[in-house]
Symmetry: C2
Subunit: 330 residues, 2 copies
């Protein structure tokens, strides 16, 4: 009885302690995924890995959003159709469901809308909707699976991107050491990393980098306190709205797994986390970190690396006799 | 007691029946993999999927030997560094341990020797051994894993290719319907497919396409009975030996999973299994199959598709501060 009571008290205390931590910290742990259509996830996984969605038959979503490499390709600019150079640094697909909008300038409302764009972008997968659908419609295994998943065999871009988006929703990285700390394990991060987190908070980084994604919740001007110098032509949200007030306003990137997703910023100009922290402190907060402050913020940021996606490689349904063969060298 | 006895008799009969089938058929079932170094397999899997082994950081072994697509890319010629066109149709990596030598012309003695070549081939991964090793040596996770696997942290091409080869040894595709039939299940293939197999045997295809790989056990001249017409410059084994007698002598390809590994032949000129069967019957056996014969041989060949590789996608160790960043657009 005594044991039961003390267990109960312990549980309540833990609960309070966790609740308190959750209540006061601006960063929250990654939540389990809910309300997932598993059939769509399985189909979406295949589509995510299928290079036949590209004109060349060579490029899949996973080519640039490599799930073995933190959901990116670690390049300044990705390699697209015919070895063309991508226009902007590829953001990670991991935890991307936590973004308030997609792309650096937020031009896609959600994952589904985003998934449509690379397929038809001439410097990325370089296909078009007619061809992409024709390819899928002539692959017997997909016809069966679309029927299973959606109730009819009709294959549309809407269904394709719905399935890809559903798969992307499961690409979260829970259980980082920082989340373990948030959830009540004081030993999950060390004092140095904790000090880095305090510097991160007191310097105001959390004003934008907050929530479960440690970012992704707002658009902000890059270069609030000092100019962010770059030759890159992107003007952020202004490229979407045409408004002068939106020039250099970008979606705040997620900092989850940030140690894996180098190089940094929309121009991919910064190779190290140390330089990225230094730059952000200066141009966004007007602060110059000491070497020690910089190092401990970096140490804190590395505690945000979570469990990477873990699932079987998909076996893709083979092309049928009428599937257009890719012609990559035209 | 009676039950035990009848079970024993049944077992003996099954054993005899299986033994008989195995003894008389020129094709044998794929055997389970033995004597595997699992630590090397895990390391080799990472290396197989790691694009940082290429100069561009874009091309991994899996780019052309896509394990989601039957171990090939279903292209006539693969896309290599800087979107260069590959020199010869990419053979599948599945069951490739069953080949007596590697490459169409057999110039590599085994999987280990093969694995070295694409890394340094200027039209494939375009790296060199010094750079590839430097990349791996500066990735902390690899340094630890090489130490675990090989007993010391030294990273050499010899160790890299040993690990990749060990991983490739597990890429077998057992339990095809044809193997189930060979192992004693008469219902595993239907009468039509069986008739196709009989045609395959009586036409002499099994003279070369035999053993567990249904090929891969010998070199043969392409065009024994009739000329194989092609503009492709490859001269087969003659390109290795310089001997006139080796002109157009190629390694007999495996027919396992042949329905997945289109297009066909070293020049990748043939898109369908129907045409491939027609051509081979004509140029190798001097036989013209009727439509019916062709169709049932094709039906038989499709029973050779086995269980595809199934394993978790690897999480690759992140680059370290000294890892050379790829420069794909130089």
């Amino acid at each position: 009885m005594k044991n039961k009571l003390s267990n109960a008290i312990f549980t309540v205390c833990c609960f309070l302690s966790v609740s308190t931590a959750l209540a006061v910290e601006p960063i929250s742990p990654i939540q389990p995924v809910k309300n997932i259509n598993l059939a769509q996830v399985e189909l979406g996984k295949k589509l995510f890995f299928d290079p036949r969605l590209s004109l060349s038959g060579h490029i899949s979503c996973n080519s640039c959003h490599n799930l073995s490499l933190g959901g990116v390709d670690n390049m300044q600019f990705s390699i697209g159709h015919n070895w063309q150079k991508g226009g902007i640094n590829t953001p990670t697909v991991l935890n991307s469901s936590m973004n308030l909008a997609q792309f650096w300038n937020g031009r896609a409302a959600d994952l589904k809308e985003q998934a449509e764009a690379p397929i038809v972008n001439p410097i990325e997968m370089a296909s078009n909707h007619v061809l992409a659908i024709k390819v899928l419609e002539t692959i017997p295994g997909y016809v069966i699976e679309f029927r299973q998943v959606f109730g009819s065999a009709e294959i549309t871009i809407d269904r394709v991107t719905s399935a890809i988006a559903e798969f992307e929703k499961i690409l979260i990285t829970p259980n980082s050491r920082f989340d373990q700390w948030l959830l009540g394990d004081p030993s999950a991060i060390n004092d140095y990393e904790l000090a880095g987190y305090l510097t991160f908070k007191t310097s105001g980084c959390v004003a934008c980098h907050n929530g479960p994604g440690v970012g992704g919740q707002s658009f902000q001007r890059l270069g609030i306190k000092d100019v962010y110098e770059t030759d890159h032509p992107a003007q952020g949200k202004a490229d979407v709205t045409g408004k002068v007030s939106d020039i250099n306003v970008f979606k705040v990137p997620l900092l989850r797994n940030i140690e894996l997703t180098f190089p940094y910023f929309h121009d991919g100009e910064v190779e190290t986390l140390e330089e990225a922290v230094d730059t952000m402190a200066r141009v966004q907060r007007g602060v110059t970190f000491t070497r020690q402050e910089n190092a401990r913020v970096v140490a804190f940021l590395k505690t945000l690396t979570g469990e990477q996606p873990s699932f079987n490689i998909p076996t893709l349904p083979p092309s049928g006799p009428d599937t257009p063969l890719p012609e990559p060298f035209l």
